[in-house]
């Protein structure tokens, strides 16, 4: 009997494995293959200007040395962290606050919720153009209004101090609805009993949020933050349209830096090394956040 069961078990495992092969093959072709090619390319000085450079593995870590010890890459990483911290922080605060405000069943609130989702569904390039108009003093209605009051603010996107916050503001406008939507969904799934119990116990609004609602929405919030963090590292259209990485280098975040190195200067191997480092960084951050955010309502 035992031998029969073992044979059946082996047979079942083989069937599962065979069944998985098509999916694994697709995964290998679509995801793992290009990713491996990226890593292999990062070990070469590949540039389209020098034929054969894609097969030159004589100094496999030269691109990584260049990235880690020349300053420009470090600078872009710090800018990236700054931009990500501001955008994800603002989007989380704004998203949670609005989700709490809109968490009711009235038709008016429903319409309002839909209105808040508009920025998120606009194509990124449209968002960039909207903010380009808003930030350009000659054509901006905001500047026209401020000028009418006798104020003459400088252009934010050409200021070394304000260019990065200006990008962060536009990015926040575009993406806070995502956090709001995730949190709102979690809030609407929340049972009423814990809230009623807290109310009977005399909890204040803040205590209800901190001790009851927040623990409940924590898993959803973690996922939202994680998604936004990964997306913030991919920031591109806003920077391309609004500042082109400038003034100077003050908005040349890692993604944009990789773009310039790869497509303006044709350093494809170096661009691949930066992309590999970015993937590793995002992977590490994701693990960290997932670990920090794990637990949720059970821990409360």
């Amino acid at each position: 009997m035992a031998a029969g069961r073992t044979a059946w078990s082996l047979e079942r495992r083989r069937a599962f494995t065979l069944g998985l092969i098509p999916a694994l093959a697709v995964l290998a072709v679509v995801t793992i293959g290009p990713a491996l090619y990226l890593v292999v390319t990062s070990l070469t000085p590949l540039t389209p200007i020098r034929p054969g450079s894609g097969l030159d593995f004589s100094t496999p870590f030269a691109n990584y040395r260049q990235a880690l010890f020349t300053g420009s890459f470090d600078h872009s990483v710090w800018l990236q962290l700054e931009l990500s911290a501001i955008t994800v922080g603002l989007q989380t605060l704004l998203g949670v606050a609005l989700a709490l405000l809109l968490n009711s069943e009235s038709r008016f609130m429903g319409a309002l919720r839909t209105g808040f989702l508009v920025p998120m569904v606009l194509p990124p390039i449209v968002v960039a153009i909207i903010w380009k108009v808003l930030y350009t003093p000659d054509v901006s209605p905001v500047y026209a209004m401020l000028d009418a009051f006798g104020l003459r603010p400088g252009a934010l996107i050409t200021s070394p101090v304000w260019a990065l916050p200006a990008i962060a503001l536009a990015d926040t406008w575009e993406w806070f609805p995502f956090t709001m939507l995730m949190v709102l969904a979690a809030l609407q799934m929340m049972p009423n009993e814990p809230l009623e119990a807290a109310r009977i116990d005399g909890a204040s609004a803040w205590q209800m949020f901190w001790h009851v609602r927040l623990p409940y929405i924590r898993p959803a919030l973690t996922v939202a933050v994680l998604f936004r963090l990964i997306d913030s590292i991919k920031a591109f259209p806003l920077i391309y349209v609004l500042t082109n990485g400038g003034p100077g280098r003050v908005t040349e975040v890692t993604n944009y830096y990789a773009f310039i190195q790869t497509f303006n200067f044709a350093y494809w191997g170096y661009g691949a090394a930066i992309a590999t480092l970015m993937v590793a960084g995002v992977f590490g951050l994701s693990l960290l956040i997932a670990r920090l955010g794990a637990g949720g309502v059970e821990d409360a």
Binding site: P48, I49, R50, Q66, T70, S72, Y135, T136, P137, D138, Y143, R152, G154, A155, I157, T158, S159, P160, T243, N244, G246, P247, G248, R249, V250, I260, F263, N264, F265, A266, Y267
Partner: protein
Amino acid sequence: MGSTIGRRQVLAAGTAAGGLLALSGKAPAAGGTKPLKGVTLNISCWSAPYPLLLAKYIPEFEAETGARVIYTTPSFPIYNQRMGLALATRSDAYDVVNVTFIFIGQWIGAGWVLPLDSFIANPKLTPADWNAADFFPGTTTAFRNAAGQLCAIPWIADVMMGGAARYDLISKAGFAMPDNFSEMPKMLAAVNGKDGVPGFLTENHYGWTFPGYLQGFGANIFRNPPHDLMPVLDTPAAVEAAGFFSDLLRKFGPRGALSYTYDEVVAALKSGTVNYATENEAFVTQMAQPGSKVMRTCGFSLFPAGPAGRFPQVATHGWGIPAGSRNKDAAWQFITWAMSRKLLLRMFREHGWSSVTRRSIVELPEFRSKLTLNGFDVAKMYLDTVDLAAKGYMAYRTVPPYPEVDRQIDIAIQGIVSGEKTAQQAMAAAQRNSIVQLRRAGVKL
């Protein structure tokens, strides 16, 4: 198997070959023959006045030849990125492309566009009266490869000059168009803010708009291009030039002056929301065309001279055939049509296109008289500038690693104008970073 030729390609090639013979007069006359019927040409150029104007005439080429033309004109940076990738991968996506001046060293040096000499010399492919020698030598020289073969036909001599949207304000303040650097700040200080119009603006591609000032102060990008590519961006003259140029933008520019691209500068000039700019002739002369709000008030001059002389920047862009094109003969047919004297003359007569590269057109009396705008002899300025560039001071621009240095200049000027750095700091950083970039590109310094 990979190179199997399909039935359609055979038919298309046969039709194209027959058509070329017909066009050159070697085929029997056939009423209504469409020599390029069945051929689709993918053509691209960056968005500039000439390629946009050419779009109006392309239906005539299609009707005449039967070819179908897919024509795109993205913005300058998008075009260059897209084309750099397509050419590098020997893609067959394009049949005729613009060879961008700043990338001549890379694109022609790497053999990504074809030499055209054999096309020009072939009487079956090129009409006898097409006359390649008519193009300004100053523009064709830039497109020659190491073997001396011509790899693109120049469609523009992009000469930099001075243009004022509100010359009325300048003359009212008692000034003429500034002829040198010392007159510029005086004139700009007098007119800045008059009628609410800021005094000065130039496009934010400073690797293009700044070198005329740099050289005017006696400095340069490289020590002795193309032979000695050691950057010399931190010399006292270079720092002085950077400070002077940045001051013009900072003191007399509109808010957000650093964000203006070339098309935004043109729009600002044409609408009279900025007064004076040093920009390309093809851009500033648009102020005098119908539809411009400053048509009656604009003025023009040569690019101002500095203490070391006058160095108006001259660029050229040209039509080339990518090595990967599958329709090379038809592509050449398009180029000969687009750059024919007949069509260029029509573009000039019908739409005022003036940055012409054929000497026989520029020297026509009607060209000279039509290009006298509000009393300014722009045709003479154009010819004088092209002649000045023949001295060879533009040699820095076509060396293969120039795009990297161009970016360092952009960053330096932005840093100074925004107040992030002093001219000394910004140019020292540009020098350091340029050396790093050039060494990376394999240049021995």
